[in-house]
């Protein structure tokens, strides 16, 4: 073995030469006359649109519809005197999120980097200054502190007990049932009819439940479609192709309108449960195809190698094939989750008061007639926030799992 000098055969990428803003613009925006023209035209159109939008938002728009109905947007017709339960739920979820962040980031040199601190600062300023959240900022600010606190604590715990990740998964799992209890009541708490669940709360609840149900189902369908057993394979393929050939609205209407006709009077499942099942069954078919794509991307040699090591089929799948296949399929799977989240808007046309549905109700209030642009823009920002958070999360997971260079 000859030793090579690291200088001459380094595999590290070449140093990136940092450009100042002026040379950067010259290189990327104004390299020749055509690009310069393009830059100017596009910048002109863009800034004209932005100026129009901003001037509309500051002068024409009447934003009071948002702060006056903020509670409705968040929780629908959920009884106001039971709001402390929603706050408790928010605190639990945020605490767990902080804890998970701390544990996952235990090996980072600084948990609170400059960007994160700026984010916290913006969040706090927003809560203090922005009208809809101002009355609640007494509760929201401690929740931000809770996230920071649990993150710091999680980091310490994660360093001391490396195996704590498993327990956090369990805690998330249990928190779902705590959430169900806090929202729906029972076991000592006042019951809240599912009819009163609404707004963002219902959107998130249906989306989370739908995602949690469709993932295992989609995984099984994908494995079933690649199974060597002809009946399992046939049934999985049939299911996937039938569901993919039907629009989601049709599935939802079937759940809301037709299922009650088949069942005996009185034994009708809850409308929200029906909607969740319809969403999950629908998404599972698409998810199965995403997972199948991942499975097909794993080289056949992997399976042969596993079998020659003496692993049986379940362990081959669980330890060798699936970890690689799911890693490949993450972008597509998260894409499916995002579209499931957005598909919850369809629940408004089957009469559930989720975020879009409650928006329609608020627009029918004579005091806010014609405030379409304001309300729909606000809803769009909320949907964007959650979808972007999901896609950001998936990118982080991809980075974390990226083992090849």
């Amino acid at each position: 073995m000859t030793s090579v000098t690291p200088d001459s055969f380094s595999s590290a990428p070449p140093d990136v030469v940092a450009l100042g803003p002026v040379p950067w613009a010259k290189k990327n925006l104004f390299s020749d006359w055509f690009n310069s023209l393009l830059t100017l035209v596009i910048a002109g159109i863009f800034s004209w649109g932005m100026i129009r939008l901003v001037s509309w938002a500051l002068t024409t728009a009447q934003w009071e519809v948002i702060p006056n109905n903020f509670g409705l947007f968040m929780t629908g017709t959920f009884p106001i005197n039971l709001y402390p339960r929603i706050w408790a739920l928010l605190a639990i979820v945020c605490g767990l999120a902080g804890l998970s962040w701390g544990v996952l980031g235990r090996n980072l040199s600084t948990l609170f980097s400059r960007n994160v601190l700026i984010g916290f600062g913006v969040a706090c300023a927003f809560m203090v200054l922005f009208p809809p959240t101002r009355p609640s900022s007494l509760i929201l600010l401690p929740i931000v502190a809770l996230v920071a606190g649990t993150a710091a604590a999680g980091r310490q715990i994660g360093r001391k007990f490396p195996g704590v990740g498993k327990w956090i998964s369990l805690a998330w799992f249990l928190s779902y049932f705590v959430a169900l209890w806090l929202i729906g009541g029972g076991l000592g708490l006042t019951k809240v009819s599912t009819n009163d669940w609404g707004g963002l709360l219902l959107t998130l609840f249906t989306a989370v439940s739908g995602i949690a149900l469709c993932f295992p189902l989609g995984l099984l369908l994908a494995l079933g479609r690649r199974s060597a057993l002809p009946i399992v394979r046939g049934l999985s393929t049939l299911y996937i192709e039938i569901v993919r050939g039907v629009p989601l609205v049709a599935v939802l209407f079937m759940g809301q309108v037709m299922i009650p006709l088949f069942l005996p009077l009185g034994s009708r499942p809850d409308r929200i449960l029906r909607a969740i099942i319809a969403l999950a069954l629908f998404s599972a078919a698409y998810l199965a195809e995403n997972v199948r794509a991942g499975l097909q991307a794993v080289p056949r040699g992997q399976q042969e190698a596993a079998m020659s090591l003496g692993l049986n089929t379940p362990t081959t799948l669980g330890l060798i094939i699936l970890p690689q296949a799911l890693k490949i399929a993450i972008p597509a799977i998260v894409g499916q989750f995002i579209s499931l989240f957005q598909d919850t808007t369809l629940l408004s046309i089957v009469g559930l008061a989720e975020l879009l549905g409650i928006g329609k109700s608020i627009l029918a209030n004579p005091s806010y007639l014609g405030r379409y642009a304001e309300v729909y823009l606000f809803l769009a920002v909320i949907y964007w926030f959650f979808c972007y958070a999901m896609s950001l999360g998936s990118r982080k997971i991809e980075e974390k799992l990226n083992t090849d260079n």
């Binding site: 779902y176 009541g185 009819n195």
Partner: protein
């Protein structure tokens, strides 16, 4: 393999938990949405202590959610009146939002006790769909909105002028029929979408805008200068809207029907939510019977004898409901028109309470 077991357990638990919440709907246990064998829906509602009323939830003036999260509107007030009559509490209502496609299946399947959801009374719905229509609570009809400055006062004035209308609706057909009958040559400007149609009207692309009157009135308040637009005194189609119950349950239908009539009769008697107490011990035998001081009108229907006192105290008479939601006390300032009492030239007419 342990992971799979956990996953399966999770799935089962989730379903069980969600399933558990099904029975908590509306009542907190028991599948009382089904009518007892041979019994009436009235007993179901009484046992439950709550009325389940199907509403739209998104029609200005008829049903919407106000800032405090409570349902309001004319349709909602009808639900409240029935709840006050049966249970003595106008707030004992659970509102179920129903889409137009599922409203009838929800009713016939027993998911809701009654509909109060802008449903037009037609012969096919009454006969083949299997519904019972309680008295009309709002006579809607296709109307015409014009700008005051245009000087148009009748449909004949539209000769050579443009009218905005939504395409593919009965509205468009009614308009052409009506105009052909009158022999008026007008220019229809059709739009796929209501928002675009009203925007074009606001910009002055057409002199007139036609749609259901209640819609026109609601939309008028969103126009730049609402007071510069008026509705012509013309009705091109009949849209009687009222509460609906399911067929073959006369007992329950009678309750809904006579509660609705009671709202009109109260207005005819001049009894309002404010002065109802002064009618206690009245000499007028008609009013004494109506309010349950004499006779057994209420108990004969299976209701408390003073059910109308509860309705009027908690909800008000029809005139109050109308003015509050659509009339002078609301943004819409809709004229009573056909919805006035028969004694004032309208169509609101209650058979006698005796």
């Amino acid at each position: 393999m342990r992971k799979w077991g956990l996953l399966a357990a999770a799935l089962g638990l989730t379903l069980a938990a969600c399933g558990g919440s099904t029975t908590t709907t509306a009542d907190g246990g028991g599948d009382d949405t089904a009518p007892a064998a041979g019994g009436s829906r009235l007993d179901v509602v009484k046992d439950r202590g709550q009325l389940i009323c199907g509403v739209d939830g998104g029609i200005p003036g008829f049903s919407f959610v106000d800032e405090s999260g409570t349902y309001s509107g004319l349709d909602v007030d009808v639900c409240k009146a029935v709840a006050a009559a049966v249970l003595g509490d106008a707030e004992a209502v659970e509102y179920r939002r129903l889409d137009s496609t599922e409203r009838f299946t929800a009713l016939s399947g027993g998911e809701v006790d009654m509909l109060s959801r802008n449903t037009t009374w037609t012969i096919s719905r009454d006969s083949s769909v299997g519904l019972e229509f309680a008295p009309t609570t709002f006579f809607d009809g296709q109307g015409m909105m014009v700008k005051t400055a245009s000087g148009i006062t009748s449909l004949e004035d539209f000769a050579g002028k443009a009218i905005c209308v939504e395409t593919g609706t009965t509205t468009e057909l009614n308009l052409t029929d009506q105009m052909r009958q009158l022999g008026v040559d007008f220019e229809p400007v059709v739009f796929q979408d209501a928002d675009a149609a009203y925007a074009a009207y606001a910009e002055g692309r057409c002199e007139g805008m036609t749609s259901d009157k209640s819609q026109l009135v609601a939309r008028r308040s969103t126009l730049p200068n609402p007071e510069e637009n008026i509705l012509l005194e013309v009705t091109m189609s009949k849209e009687p809207l009222g509460p609906v119950t399911v067929n073959n349950d006369s007992t329950w239908f009678d309750v809904v029907k006579w509660t609705t009539f009671g709202l009109m009769q109260a207005e005819e008697f001049g009894i309002t939510s404010e002065n109802v107490a002064t009618f206690e011990g009245t000499e007028n035998p008609d009013i004494a019977r109506f309010l349950g001081a004499e006779g057994t009108l209420g108990t004969d229907m299976g209701l408390p004898n003073d059910f109308m006192v509860q309705v009027i105290t908690q909800v008000g008479n029809y005139g109050e409901i109308f003015e509050r939601n659509l009339g002078a006390d609301s943004q819409f300032e809709l004229e009573r028109g056909q919805n006035a009492l028969w004694t004032e030239g309208g169509l609101m007419y209650s058979p006698p309470f005796r």
